[in-house]
Each structure stands twice: as structure tokens, then as C-alpha cells.
Amino acid sequence: VTGVVAPWGGLVWRTRSVGARRPPSGGSSLSRSELARAAAISHPAARARFVTGRRLLRELLLEVRPELLEEGIELLVEPSGRLQVRGHPELEVSISHTHGLVAAAVSTSGPVGIDVEPVGRGGLPPSETWLTQGERIQLAEVPEEDRRAWLLRRWVAKEAVLKAVPSRTLPRRRIEIAPDGDRALLVDGRGTPELETPTLRLRWHVVADRHLLALAR
């Protein structure tokens, strides 16, 4: 089991290897609807990740709000894919799954997004399909040998940001990650920052030297 809890102003997060054995815990048991959803997932690895992710999220919720053990946890999925905890609009949650690992985050101080990818992952989509104009200019300055890591960092950051903004259908080409990777801005189609939207902050972790994880809030 890999696991980290890092407080960041009302935020906790943790990762777990898919299929890791955990002691039984009533509070982290999946609901009937979640079990039905899991049963409908035909690919075994995808099903295992779903189950591990939901259990991990439930454990984090119980750490943040122990009273949920009595009350029960019901997770709702909005049409956009965003998860909510029924009856607790003050709690924001996010889950990320990748090959062999899931990550979950719970925030009591505003929206949060989490994303995780294997450090060596390649095969990123063509940059023009998901980088802003400004990022493509930055990319041209990045030495060839550093490009894959630079691109992966942008991808993970944008995925985390997408989960932290209210509209998860925001095009990736409208999310610009700052050169130092510590914040993200929303930009319009011409690359101009949208001043009325807040800047999201990013935080980075490398999990067990194998996975790159970003948190956005």
C-alpha cells in the first residue's frame, strides 16, 4: 500500500495500489448502487480501480467527518461526472485512477481536483489538441530530451484542474499551466487570461518514484 496524507488547508489526499488488501471497515463499504455500478464494469482492472477508489474516498471522508460513519455516505455523480457527497455540500471530493494506482482527495475548503499518471507514461495526444497557444510557445523552448516529462506534467495538471472547476467540460486548450507549474489560469480562445476567474493553485507529489500526482484547488 502506498499512502500519504498531506494537509493543505482543509485538504487530505491519499493514494493506494489497486487491489491492496485492507482490513474490513463498515464505513468504507460500497453502497448498493456502487456495487451495481462495479458489477456493470466489464473490464476487471477498471472494476478493481473503481472499487479501490470508492473505498479510499470513503475512508478519507470518515477521517474528515467521523460522524459520517453513523450517518452513512452516499456519493452522487453529477451529469458532468463530478462527485458529490449527499447532504454535505461543504465537502468536495475527487478521485483519479491510473494503471495500478488510485488517488483520492477530500477538501473542506473549496473545490479540489486530483490526478495521477505513471511517471514514464508516453503516448500523449498531439499537443495542438490540448495545449494553449502560450504553452505551445513554451514547449518550443523545452529541450527535446525534457519534452515528455514537461508534457506529462501539463497533462496531469490539466486533468486535476478539470476536476476542480465547476464545469468539467472546459476544453483543455482553455487551461494554461504557468511555466513553473504552480498555478493554472483559464484563458479564452486567443490565449488571453480570463480575469474574472480565479487562479487555481497546483501542488505536486511523486508517489513511490513511479507516479506523478497533481492537486488543484
Binding site: A40, I41, S42, H43, A45, A46, R47, F50, H97, T98, E117, R121, G123, L124, P125, P126, T129, W130, W155, E159, T169, L170, P171, R172, R173
Partner: protein, 86 residues
């Protein structure tokens, strides 16, 4: 002329390339491809990019959710390229 059968074949070819460890031809065409083939968001964008390149169309990100199932993707692409059934 590209038919809906051609579009289905194209999608299966692309999916077989993106998820070679799985058998895309056995997916339930009404279920979410991410669950059927263990795809993630990067795989999804790669699939859409390759299909749109092959068809010479641009798929806006707002339309990505319409391509989450095999049947949905065929129907969406058929509408975009004016493909007849068959």
C-alpha cells in the same frame, strides 16, 4: 462513401491500437468504453484525435461525451460526416 459500418470498423481499429491488450470487438456497444476497455482520459483523447484525423473532421471537446460508447461514437460521427446506415 463512408457508412456506419465503416465508422464502426474504423473505431474498432483505433481502439485495438490504443488498448492492444483488450479485444475491442467484444465490447458492449452501449456501455462506456472507458469501463469496457479500461481506457482513461488520455486514451480517450488519443482515440478521438486519431478518428478525427482519419475522417478529416474536428471534434470539439464539448462533444467528447457523445463518443463514450461505441454506438454513441458511430452515431455522432455518422452525423458529422453524413454517413448512411450500412
Amino acid at each position: 462513401v463512408t457508412t456506419t459500418d465503416d465508422l464502426r470498423t474504423l473505431l474498432l481499429e483505433v481502439l485495438a491500437d490504443i488498448a492492444p491488450e483488450t479485444d475491442a470487438s467484444t465490447v458492449d456497444p452501449t456501455e462506456d468504453l472507458r469501463d469496457e476497455l479500461d481506457l482513461d482520459s488520455m486514451d480517450e483523447l488519443n482515440m478521438i484525435t486519431r478518428v478525427s484525423e482519419r475522417l478529416g473532421i474536428d471534434v470539439p471537446e464539448d462533444d467528447y461525451p457523445r463518443m463514450r460508447t461505441l454506438d454513441g461514437a458511430v452515431a455522432y460521427l455518422a452525423g458529422r460526416v453524413g454517413a448512411p446506415a450500412g
